[in-house]
């Protein structure tokens, strides 16, 4: 192992007189790492660890979920609120493979997570033993790092390294596969814990190079139509203040990606909207008119660029990014700045000139007016037919003053939530962006509430998504977390239906659902709830939801065949954005 300690031993636990087991070493290591919450599910190959956990209940709050995928998504929500790794504990074989979706989701959305997975005993490895799966092989492409522990002596060092790797640089999921024999056997030396202070082969650059900053500053200072695209990296680096200061000094308009939303308040005069397939009209179209793009902590996902070969060919690109492999991956950067978003923006601030770019900024307002007239206004002012998703989100936004944390699933409701919720506080949107994992929201909302007990957490879920992980209602009720769940029920897999309508001549292939009684299901789990299917009662329904003491489920029956616009058709260039 190449863990090198630069710091003197700072937090070394006193060596215990008697030797301890691998499982106990794992518990002590987690406590030393400051872990107080774990999401997990026991099983055969992890039982020694659960036995050790029994004696640590006063220090570690273990949350028993209903399915391992739920543990993963809950840990993701928790991690995004806490800004540190969420911890998952599951058994071997099916326990681990059930977790795979959440690991892949965490990797693509840069969410720190430490997954501890049981494995069969060392002697049984590779023998097709009961509940044995090659979890190392399965998770290798979807983890930032993974490691198999086969002896108790390795535990402390590997746990320290796991937390370090998960959290430093561009965060991501790591996985520790620990054999049952390593859990059971006794250490051969006294237990000590030393936090990992660095790894020789992994030194992410946090502080940008001066020459890169100067090139970037020159481009920005000479720009006539500069444009900031702020991504998830801003939120991960907690660089919201630096972003705002940078934008305010330079007068440059700011758009965000899907996951970059809430990094700047929607009522800030420099905020122009969000980007992407269903993002705002002006922010998308005007990327093609900017002369300098300042991309901060974003990776030019294809949902943002549309056809990348036609994207921002006219512009010079400043790319502020912590992961060097993202630079030039999709879009060539003329001025790459490798570093943490917070440090980079802070270092760039004194190098850029004050400006206000009023004329350029006003162009966004012109497009806003068109979008409002063609889309927003009709969506929000309809008086006939069923309730529209936009109305629900808009009303929720006003009732919560834009200060709730929204946890959204994947599909039309996700896009509508982003379009109509007016975020006013940082770190207020938890969603599955890169992976687009249906079933993410309910368990993630639970984890989000655990990670942010002082905030109002509202899960916005579609009727299709809800049925993928609805068993986690049980986890929410058992742990008395006041998660508010809104199901926007259109009895369809709405986004797929929309595509079938627009691009497949309305050939609705397997998108209509025969849904259960959602409120009755919630009640079956011991959660209160009710259904709203009339526009007149929507306001009262939302009031009831928000005021309820404890978890609550509100089903809103919405228009069946509603479409999300604007829309950039898949594979088209963003200039081909459609308003209807």
């Amino acid at each position: 192992m190449e863990t090198v300690s630069v710091l003197p031993e700072i937090e070394t636990k006193p060596a215990t007189a008697t030797m301890i087991s691998g499982s106990e070493a794992l518990m002590h290591s987690l406590v030393a790492e400051g872990v107080d919450t774990i999401f997990g599910y026991p099983g055969g190959a992890i039982m020694p660890v659960y036995d050790a956990l029994y004696d640590f209940q006063d220090q570690i709050n273990h949350i028993l979920v209903r399915h391992e995928q739920g543990a993963g998504h809950a840990a993701q929500g928790y991690a995004r609120m806490q800004g540190r790794a969420g911890v998952v504990l599951v058994t071997s074989g099916p326990g681990a493979t059930n977790l795979v979706t959440a690991i892949a989701d965490a990797l693509i959305d840069s969410t720190p997570m430490v997954c501890i997975v049981g494995q069969v005993g060392k002697k049984l490895l590779g023998t097709d033993a009961f509940q044995e799966a090659d979890v190392m092989g399965v998770t290798m492409p979807i983890t930032k790092w993974n490691y198999q522990i086969t002896s108790a002596d390795e535990v402390a060092e590997v746990v320290a390294k796991a937390f370090y790797i998960a959290q430093i640089g561009r965060p991501g999921p790591v996985l520790i596969d620990i054999t049952k024999s390593a859990q059971q056997e006794m250490m051969t030396r006294p237990f000590t814990y030393e936090p990992c202070a660095g790894i020789v082969s992994y030194r992410p650059r946090l502080t940008p190079k001066q020459d890169q900053l100067e090139v970037a500053a020159k481009l920005i200072n000479n720009a006539k139509r500069p444009y900031i695209l702020a991504g998830h990296g801003v939120q991960i680096a907690k660089a919201e203040d630096e972003l705002r200061a940078f934008a305010e000094k330079t007068g440059i308009p700011v758009a965000t990606t899907l996951l970059g939303q809430s990094t700047i308040s929607t009522d800030h005069p420099l905020y122009v909207g969000w980007l992407g397939m269903h993002g705002n009209y002006g922010p998308n179209v005007l990327t093609d008119q900017a002369d300098v793009i300042i991309a901060v902590g974003m990776r030019f996902d294809d949902r943002v660029t549309g056809d990348a070969s036609k994207y921002i060919r006219q512009a010079k690109v400043v790319h502020i990014e912590i992961d060097p492999s993202e630079v030039d991956k999709i879009i060539k950067a003329h001025a790459p700045v490798i570093g943490d978003a917070k440090e980079s923006l802070r270092a760039l601030l004194p190098l850029v000139h004050e400006n206000d770019h009023t004329i350029w900024r006003n162009e966004f307002r012109r497009y806003d007016a068109i979008e409002y007239e063609k889309i927003t206004e009709p969506e929000l002012s309809s008086t006939e037919g069923k309730i529209r998703m936009a109305e629900v989100i808009d009303m929720l936004s006003r009732k919560t003053n834009g200060e709730a944390v929204l946890v959204t699933d994947v599909g039309q409701h996700q896009m509508m939530a982003s379009r109509y919720y007016k975020f006013r506080r940082p770190n207020s949107l938890v969603t599955s962006g890169g992976m687009g994992t249906m079933g993410f929201a309910l368990p993630a909302a639970f984890g989000t509430q655990m990670g942010a007990p002082d905030r109002q957490v509202v899960a916005i879920i579609g009727d299709g998504c809800f049925q993928m992980t609805l068993q986690e209602l049980g986890t929410i009720v058992q742990n008395k977390q006041p998660v508010k769940t809104i199901i926007l029920n259109n009895n369809f897999l709405g986004m797929v239906r929309q595509w079938q309508q627009l691009f497949h001549q309305r050939r609705y292939s397997f998108v209509e659902l025969q849904n259960p009684n959602f409120v009755m299901i919630a009640q079956g789990f011991g959660m209160d709830g009710h259904t709203c299917d009339a526009r007149e009662s929507l306001s009262d329904s939302l009031d009831k939801l928000l005021a309820h003491d404890g978890p609550y489920l509100l089903e809103v029956v919405v228009e069946k065949e509603e479409n999300v616009f604007p829309m950039v058709p898949a594979g088209a260039s963003i200039s081909q954005i459609r308003l209807s």
């Binding site: 190449e2 092989g137 290798m140 993974n146 020789v200 082969s201 030194r203 060097p324 030039d328 991956k329």
Partner: protein, 178 residues
């Protein structure tokens, strides 16, 4: 198609080969040859991976993605003229009683190859050189003899720059590897 030689320096860990090759698989890049050995630094392995590719941009992206692996210390992508490279081949050649004798002089002097094992009715010839030289020799042998088995090692290469690996590592860590 251009030949690229990618040299990857890593700490010696189980499973790392898999992690590296996954990156090639994902991008549907075929590996022409791959060799791994420990370097002059204890605990540091060197992977030499040869690929053919049309786009330098894509190869650069590949190199950056390999660099991202936690255990990878350094990665270099080289064109042929930037490296000294070689590989080794073994030929098992049939020498039946009454068959054509091996022309040892041609084998030695023209092809710089050596008989390294004499079996009862076969010999094993070792040839070191570039792919071209090895295939020239292969053609010569096949014309005159029956080749029972043929195996190539894959390329090994060192860069032509004057720096050693250690100079690419953070200075603070030199002591660790020296």
């Amino acid at each position: 198609m251009t030949t690229y030689t990618i040299c990857v320096f890593t700490s010696n860990t189980i499973g790392l080969l898999n992690r590296i090759t996954i990156i090639f698989t994902r991008r549907r890049i075929n590996i022409e040859s791959l060799t791994v050995s420990e370097t002059e630094r204890k605990g540091v392995s060197r992977f030499t991976i040869v690929i053919k590719h049309e786009s330098r941009d894509e190869v650069e992206k590949l190199v950056r993605q390999i660099r991202k692996i936690v255990e990878v210390l350094a990665v270099f992508g080289y064109l042929n003229d930037e490296i000294v490279f070689n590989e080794i081949a073994l030929f098992k050649v049939s020498t039946p009683l009454g068959g054509k004798a091996i022309d040892v002089e041609t084998v030695n002097k023209k092809h710089k190859a050596w008989v390294v094992y004499w079996g009862l009715d076969y010999v094993v010839i070792e040839k070191t050189g570039t792919e071209t030289e090895i295939f020239d020799f292969f053609a010569y042998l096949r014309l005159n003899h029956e080749i029972l088995e043929f195996v190539r090692s894959g390329r090994v290469a060192v860069g032509k720059t004057e720096q050693g690996l250690v100079e690419y590592l953070p200075e603070a860590d030199w002591a660790y590897y020296l």
